[in-house]
Assembly symmetry: C2
Homo-oligomer: 508 residues x 2
């Protein structure tokens, strides 16, 4: 899905300003510890800087774009080569019903194991919109960030992933194994909603390997560009994306194709049929799902979640947020803290797009034979994607809209990772040691395929981790900071060093 | 508007098969009479054939397209030249707030006057979709019609208009004046809904000239290609075309531009706002306007109208119509004759197009800042365009949708011309003399700017007239029959001769 980095960026804006420290009391039994021989690692990582830049740059030059069928046959090979180079002792292509994935392992002979999730695909791009060629990954000065690499995938996700691989190369150069065993899964369809990722993760031997891990994480550029603060998520909403299509053909009423609009007087309209169906899905104000049984399994916020939201709201400025997004009022004129609570807690039915008939300038007197609405429905615990799809179809059918096609194009269950999971606590410790402000986010309002790990049968804590900053995922001039002008934000080598620290912390 | 020829074509399909004669008893006091010296005229018209083809061809080669701003400064000059060449003694460009029109007169020193309405603009076209270049107006064999001219504007409306001008050239060649004086108005914005045509028609001196006429007509290709039958209209529905636009900017709620869809949980949606507004405009089935007071001035069908509809329904095959248009059921499962009655009598609210947010393949997780619906609302007597617009706005405002922009892009009042008007009776007589089947249509369900003439202050009977056949208005390979393979349908010279007969009939 396209949510991770955009939400990420937006959360940054929400939370800019002083973020709240998580009180130490929250982390019982966790003593502070340094990475052993840290200065040696720092040197090795510094020496690995240029090779890591080259690695990321070459990878950006070989984009896989599932939506366009671009390089879908070679992207997994490329990914597997990167892994072998970085000391993985096993790396194999995993066929799916779509673009293949990669499964890899690095046996360090360590008592503990950590899992990794990578995406090797990137979002579509139009080079004409870029100030620097999107596949050349040039490094340019960009105030106030410093030296940044500009390219498609720079932050989403090849830059952060490349930084992790660079850290492994530092281990290799030092002739050492990482302090934990690694289990690795990657997909090439993240940007189209990970439709086949479960086929990789649930392959029995892969699932068995994953289950040995304490948790799974995806490298990310997590720091606010101004404050350096991080806001780790304890979960994410789920989502269904679908297209509702009303057509004369499947309805058996209205025209099979566009006809002259004067015939409306004697012929039904598939467009009005769609409008009538849509109108039943939400309350009159469009703000609350009205699909039968939608809230049946929705669990209310816990006191801890409510407290974290209140803290996050207090850390950030509602007016600033509203100004940035051109929003004058929240739903029901809620105050900022209640709006944030709604953001985290409420399922949504959103219309991403509507398209029917003539959409050019002016008008055209036609009665369209077809109308479509693109929806995304965000899900909260304990809704599931399967439940939501079933309920949506049943709701429409019950109301005489059973003919309307519901084409589900992707989706995930909600993701939840317990706050006391090692994968969460270890990153908090590493951030804390670095003097970085932390504000835990109980649930991101955007979505990512974390539920593939956190839901049964895998049932593994899942998170993102990583120092550094970048932005512009899915947009032109996507960038990733290589050398940071802001001492609160790491550059590439600082980010690589963060992964060394994190692996040692996970090894404890 | 784009209705004239398309409706025309569709009515042909509706009415193909034996059409009903209008009983002679309907036309009291009208004796049959021949055009004097008809054989001489026939010879003159035949001699004018090639020049008329050249006239139409050259005109097609100089298209004015208001929607594209193409040749909008020279089209009126071209039109005026054609008129001067065809013996009009006065022809002037009439400036408007849009594309200029033309006003011309031909004083024949005759006791009676006939007015003419021309459009000199044409619809947009894409040459790649044509089998013959749309501006070259080549004449090709096209079974079963015969030799046809293919070009943009061939039937809509340069071919039929050129045939009339060709008839005037025949008079000129014979050294004669037409038997009636002519008053001529033309516009260059018909294809964008005639937004400024009233500025031409209501200029005091032009209106005074028009008021001297017995009626106004537009040359048209009126014959069914199979049966040769004609179906003159006694009026047409009116129309408003408008775009309803919901945006965060004008609403003051929702985002000012597209934002990430996860924010739907705390931000209102201008798309849902539009859906909620649309839903109030019609009954649940989308088939009857539900706008406050919409039916206040709607007059029921007269017995005569009902009889004409029944006759037309009996002349045509409902199943054939349904097959042609891919329609399996009429509204409310009405039988064919009742569907035809609904077609003629009922106002409509139709959605021509919907557009909001992301409309490409797949999905995109955005909460759109703007949504628009393109509507056409067909009006029946005695609704007016002004009344309809006022009621639509009031309806929306009353329900909390006053922020939704209602951008009216064009429209006309309904058109009505009495059956006993000379402009109607004269054409019936000419058709009858030619042995052509006639089925009067009480009201076309499509729209044309006839109300500019038929409504106050001009209050002139208005109609279309013309033999011949053509089709494909607004579509690729638009054509006009030059030589007809079907003896029941005239070619170009027969059509020209029809105008000679018509002018003499109007002179009686």
């Amino acid at each position: 899905m396209d949510d991770r980095n955009r939400m990420h960026t937006s959360r940054r804006h929400v939370l800019q300003g002083a973020a709240a420290f998580v009180p130490l009391a929250m982390i019982p039994g966790l003593a502070r510890a340094e990475t052993p021989e840290r200065a040696l690692f720092q040197k090795a990582v510094d020496g690995q800087r240029d090779d890591t830049i080259a690695l990321i740059r070459d990878w950006i030059g070989n984009p896989t774009i599932a939506a366009e069928g671009r390089n879908v046959d070679k992207g997994a090979d490329y990914m597997a080569s990167l892994l072998r180079d970085a000391s993985f002792d096993h790396a194999e292509i995993v066929k799916t019903d779509g673009v293949p994935g990669v499964f890899a392992t690095l046996d360090a002979g360590a008592p503990k194991t950590v899992a990794l999730y990578f995406m090797y695909d990137v979002k579509q791009f139009d080079p004409r919109e870029w100030s620097s060629p999107p596949l050349e990954a040039k490094i340019v000065d960009r105030a106030p960030y410093g030296k940044v690499m500009i390219g498609r995938g720079a932050v989403n996700q090849k830059g952060p992933e490349g930084a992790f691989l660079g850290a492994l190369h530092a281990f290799r150069k030092m002739g050492r194994k990482p302090p934990v065993n690694l289990v690795f899964v990657a997909e090439g369809e993240e940007e189209i909603g990970s439709p086949h990722f479960h086929q990789i993760v649930r392959r029995p031997d892969i699932m068995a390997a994953l289950k040995k891990a304490q948790g799974v994480f995806m490298p990310a550029a997590s720091q606010d560009p101004k404050t350096g603060a991080v806001t780790p998520d304890l979960g994410a909403k789920g989502i269904i994306e679908c297209e509702l299509v009303s057509s004369g053909e499947t309805w058996g009423r209205g025209p099979a194709r566009d006809i002259h609009s004067s015939f409306k007087a004697m012929v039904d309209s598939p467009v009005w049929h769609l409008v009538a169906a849509l109108e039943t899905l939400v309350t009159k104000d469009g703000n609350t799902p009205a699909i039968d049984g939608w809230f049946e399994h929705v669990r209310p916020l816990s006191d801890r979640e409510r407290a974290l939201i209140a803290q996050n709201a207090a850390n950030a400025s509602g007016p600033d947020w509203m100004k940035r997004y051109g929003v004058q009022h929240f739903i029901d004129d809620l105050p900022w803290d209640k709006a944030m609570e709604r953001l985290v807690s409420q399922p949504t039915v959103n219309i991403e797009g509507l398209v029917a008939g003539y959409i050019g300038p002016g008008g055209k007197t036609i009665l369209p034979g077809r109308a479509a609405a693109k929806l995304d429905l965000r899900l909260v615990p304990n809704q599931t994607r399967a439940e939501a799809e079933t309920k949506l179809r049943a709701h429409l059918k019950k109301r005489g809209f059973g003919d309307i096609e519901v084409n589900v194009t992707g989706g995930y269950d909600p993701t939840e990772t317990p706050e006391d999971a090692r994968i969460v606590q270890a990153q908090l410790e590493v951030y804390r040691r670095a003097g970085v402000d932390i504000a835990l986010n109980p649930r991101r309002a955007g979505s990512w395929p974390g539920s593939v790990f956190t839901s049964p049968p895998v049932s593994l804590p899942a998170s993102h981790f990583g120092f550094g900053h970048g932005s512009g995922a899915h947009a032109p001039d996507e960038y990733y900071v290589i050398e940071s002008s802001n001492p609160k934000v790491t550059g590439l080598t600082g980010t690589m060093m963060g992964h060394v620290d994190f692996l040692y912390e996970m090894a404890r």
